[in-house]
């Protein structure tokens, strides 16, 4: 039952699994600290934020778009949620408001793309700048601290021995997977990314689906914001700088085509894991941080090559 549902998409990501498996084996041989339950949970916790953003990003890229605003949107949502909580809203409501505003701003960008016909790159680049500005205005450039416990729990707590951020990530992975594979909406996203004109002609409500994609990416930014705010026990005005590129990297390493129409939630998740495992491993191995950046670039290319080779065979 489970295999019937998830097996095929796992198999199609076979190349990535090899790449990840090889990386894990190599790191286990190189560092005695890598292969432990504590460290593996540690890696999962560390990749959770990037994975959540990358899943949202995947939905946008699938339909042939891009969302550069997620890092700034994350900072804004985190700051708003923290600010609302401190000004007396009950924490769950404050968090909901933060996420809700992120979804609303994502929707706004979607409307500009779908109905005003502006290029996604430019709309979300404007978002990247403007949302960062809003965050700085709202926080006055200072971190917001002294948050109530529910925030801490989201970022640092555990549930049945599993870190809460990992729970959030896995839930969002499942949600995204079901959305893409088991709903008409998901099929429409692939259709638009594959050939927008053909999709329109066969009756797909293209504009509405596009708006949905950016709203979904906004949702991802909002969720990631709650996790990050909890992990840092504060809302940072500069949080999330450069996250959009990490999210795009995870999606692309995971086999998502930047041209749209091809990619899966599992693939993106594996992509995020590969990058996270690599970061963790190099830290454990005491690799000089300058070389770490080079190695990261090399492995991104390598993972793509392995994927292509296995796929072709």
């Amino acid at each position: 039952m489970l295999w019937a549902r998830f097996g095929p998409s796992l198999l199609s990501r076979y190349g990535l699994l090899w790449a990840l498996g090889f990386l894990i084996l190599a790191l286990s041989l190189l560092s005695p600290y890598f292969l432990s339950t504590a460290n593996l949970l540690n890696v999962l916790r560390q990749v959770s934020i990037n994975a959540i953003l990358a899943l949202g990003m995947t939905v946008v890229i699938l339909k042939g778009g891009i969302d550069l605003s997620v890092g700034s949107l994350l900072a804004l949502a985190g700051a708003l949620a923290a600010g609302f909580a401190l000004s007396g809203f009950p924490p769950p409501l404050a968090m909901g408001l933060g996420v809700g505003i992120a979804v609303a701003l994502g929707t706004l960008q979607g409307l500009l793309v779908a109905y005003a016909g502006l290029p996604p790159f430019i709309v979300t680049l404007a978002g990247l700048t403007a949302f960062r500005g809003l965050t700085l205005v709202y926080t006055d450039g200072r971190p917001i601290t002294g948050l109530p416990d529910p925030f801490l729990f989201l970022g640092n707590g555990t549930l049945l021995g599993i870190p809460v951020p990992v729970m959030v990530m896995l839930s969002f992975l499942l949600l995204t997977h079901l959305l893409l594979q088991n709903t008409a909406l998901g099929r429409y996203l692939y259709a638009i990314g594959g050939n927008e004109e053909a999709a329109r002609l066969s009756g797909v409500p293209v504009a509405r689906i596009k708006v949905f994609a950016y709203a979904y990416s906004g949702l991802a930014a909002g969720l990631a914001a709650l996790v990050l705010t909890g992990r840092l026990n504060s809302a940072q005005p500069t949080a999330g700088t450069g996250f959009e590129l990490d999210a795009i990297a995870a999606a692309v390493v995971g086999g998502t085509s930047l041209a749209g129409g091809r990619g899966t939630a599992w693939g993106t998740f594996l992509g995020a894991l590969i990058i996270g495992v690599l970061n963790n491993g190099m830290n454990l191995l005491n690799v000089s941080s300058f070389y770490q950046l080079i190695a990261k670039g090399a492995v991104i290319v390598l993972a793509l090559l392995v994927d292509r080779l296995v796929r072709r065979r």
Binding site: L30, S31, I49, N233, G242, N283
Partner: protein, 302 residues
């Protein structure tokens, strides 16, 4: 097949674990950034001290990203370092990571910037308030007690920015009321931002006699902007990085307050070694000030 790989992995893991135990003690140093000569000097001081004491020092660079630093510290905890040296990117954001180290029983020493929570054995830093006052006193003498000054602030919320600003402004208010601060802007400790922020201020302010920047990178950026404008403005920086000292020797900058990052790194590692050798960490955080000095060039005419 998979099982065989599993066994192989396990065997190598056990061997490697034994190897790791035989190695000397390991100390972790999580730095906010290595894209700044100051922290490179700090790292070098730490490395030399580690070599002398025969311990291994793992240095990680958070690239000024708060989330990366949290991950770095978590990795160092997994690596089971004996003592954790942290130079926080942000005083508040680093707290959960430090608490995690506390729970793992790893003593924590903060370097340069303080953390706003968690159990810290030692805090090793320059007395930044005193340094800010030192800069203000120098500017006051230079301008003979009268003039207009611009203050370029560091990353908002960092204790270095707060303390240097506080010392500087407190001195002016108490001892030198003839000097007014006409503009006060952040350039985030960054040279490129120091340049662009100063360019903007130069457009807005017709009369500026001196600039006090919370670090040399911003001071050098501001210096570029001032040179381009052709105006005569005295620049005082903070940190005494090699570039800034050269600029002072060339009479381009008026002064820089010298922190001693190399000393900081050395003292931090030495304290870590003490803890490894069995000294009990103090019950309350102990502040270990690293002395400051003003670098000027008496041959320059200002």
């Amino acid at each position: 097949m998979t099982r065989r790989i599993g066994f192989l992995g396990l065997a190598v893991w056990i061997l490697a674990s034994i190897g790791a135990l035989a190695q000397g003690a390991v100390v972790g140093l999580s730095l906010s950034t290595l894209n700044n000569p100051f922290f490179v000097a700090l790292r070098d001081g730490g490395r030399q001290a580690a070599q002398k004491a025969g311990i291994q020092l793992i240095v990680l660079d958070a690239q000024d990203r708060v989330d990366k630093q949290v991950a770095d510290i978590e990795d160092l905890i997994q690596r089971r370092v004996r003592v954790l040296l942290v130079n926080p990117t942000d005083s508040a954001a680093v707290v959960p990571a430090i608490q995690r180290a506390n729970r793992a029983g790893i003593p924590v020493i903060t370097v340069d910037r303080a953390a706003s929570g968690g159990q810290i054995a030692f805090h090793i830093a320059s007395d930044n308030v005193a340094g800010g006052r030192m800069a203000a006193e120098f500017v006051c003498q230079l301008l003979k007690g009268r003039g207009k000054v611009v203050e370029l602030e560091g990353i908002p919320g960092t204790s270095a920015a707060r303390d240097r600003g506080q010392g500087f402004n407190a001195y002016l208010k108490e001892k030198c009321p003839g000097i007014t601060v006409v503009a006060r802007q952040t350039a985030n400790f960054d040279r490129a931002q120091g340049l662009s922020v100063m360019e903007n201020i130069l457009q807005a302010q017709r009369e500026i006699d001196a600039v006090f920047a919370h670090n040399d990178e911003m001071a050098l950026g501001a210096l570029q902007a001032i040179k381009a404008s052709g105006r005569k403005i005295r620049v005082v920086g903070f940190d005494a990085t090699p570039d800034a000292v050269k600029a002072v020797q060339a009479c381009e900058m008026a002064a820089t307050v010298a922190q001693q990052p190399q000393e900081m790194g050395r003292i931090a590692v030495e304290k870590a070694v003490e803890l490894i050798r069995g000294t009990k960490p103090p019950a309350k955080t102990q502040f270990i000030p690293v002395p400051l000095k003003l670098v000027t060039n008496s041959a320059c005419k200002w």
